[in-house]
């Protein structure tokens, strides 16, 4: 079981709700993925509350935990207010903390991120920080009160897959007791399997599923890859070797000449 703050979850997939072709496809993808958590956002309402209301109803019917985000925030103060407004709307103290520092890469502003994490923890939030694979930042986030870390493996929406597996390995080793979730940059199920094989506890996906030709089928494919990667991590994988090692026993081999 995956334990995140006060929750125990059987699925190790967290799924975003943006960019699907239709609400029906979104629902189907969430159901087929088996995800126990979906991410949502808050935006300015322009039609008397009707747009947000319809979406909220759809999400509630899915029967999964809701993880609101602070996407689009560029400072700790913006993130703090957004988080408080999200708590008001969604009735949860969970918050996926995003504080963006760069427009092109959507890299987190780790200085504002740590500050926001400290403020929100003090306000009673369970903070899920979208961060980099920097170990010092990870330590600061834990010191600020975070009990989960969510490093990127490549820029948001890039589908590039793990660009720096060594850094992910180092992060796993540095924080053995902390749930680590790869958030952002995954493009294919094999990418998800790779980070799970490295010992990551879960992955958070959105574009890789929503942008697929068949989102719900892709959601299922990712779920299978995540389970396979987790099982492999627990099963003791071999280290690669440079030379061949015969798999068939040599002892008892016939000699014909």
């Amino acid at each position: 079981m995956l334990k995140l703050y006060d929750a125990e979850l059987s699925s190790r997939l967290l799924l975003g709700t943006a960019r699907y072709p239709s609400p029906a496809v979104l629902s189907e993808a969430v159901n087929r993925s088996g995800a126990g958590i979906v991410t949502v956002s808050l935006r300015r309402e322009t039609s008397g509350g009707k747009t947000g209301g319809a979406f909220f109803e759809l999400i509630r019917k899915l029967g999964v935990r809701i993880l609101p985000n602070t996407a689009g925030c560029h400072s700790a103060s913006e993130a703090e207010l957004t988080a408080k407004m999200a708590r008001e709307v969604f009735g949860t103290n969970w918050i996926k903390l995003e504080v963006i520092g760069h427009h092109d890469s959507l890299q987190p502003d780790v200085f504002e991120l740590v500050e926001a994490a400290r403020i929100l923890t003090d306000e009673g939030f369970a903070v899920f920080p979208y961060t980099t694979d920097d170990l010092v930042v990870g330590e600061r986030l834990l010191a600020a009160g975070c009990r989960v870390l969510m490093p990127w493996c490549a820029p948001i929406g890039s589908a590039a897959g793990p660009r720096n597996p060594s850094a992910l390995v180092a992060m796993r080793a540095a924080f053995p007791e902390i749930p680590l979730i790869v958030d952002a940059g995954l493009g294919r199920p094999s990418h998800a399997a790779t980070v799970m094989e490295l010992g990551y506890d879960a992955v958070l996906l959105n574009t890789a599923v929503a942008g697929a030709g068949d989102p719900s089928a892709m959601a299922q494919a990712f779920a299978g890859a995540i389970d396979a990667g987790r099982l492999a991590y627990l099963s003791g994988m071999l280290e690669p070797r440079d030379m061949a090692v015969p798999s068939t026993p040599v002892i008892g081999k016939a000699v014909f000449s």
Binding site: V40, L42, G53, F56, N69, L81, M85, E88, V89
Partner: protein, 65 residues
């Protein structure tokens, strides 16, 4: 009076945040509101007085990653 609602200047007569929401026909338990950068809880909107130039944010659930 002049108010900035979700980034747009509007001329409205509304003494409180609750009156503003009613005037703009916003309704629903899923709305979150802030005035001048401070959260105003649902139950406090009827007591939240507005004044000339106030900046009001009205947010609701949207898709997110």
């Amino acid at each position: 009076m002049n108010l900035i609602v979700n980034g747009e200047r509007q001329f409205l007569e509304a003494a409180t945040l609750a009156e503003l929401l009613a005037a703009l026909e916003y309704e629903g338990e899923w709305l979150a509101t802030a005035v001048n950068g401070d959260l105003v809880h649902r139950e406090d909107r009827a007591d939240a007085s507005l004044k000339e130039g106030d900046r009001i944010e009205i947010l609701s659930p949207m898709q997110g990653g």
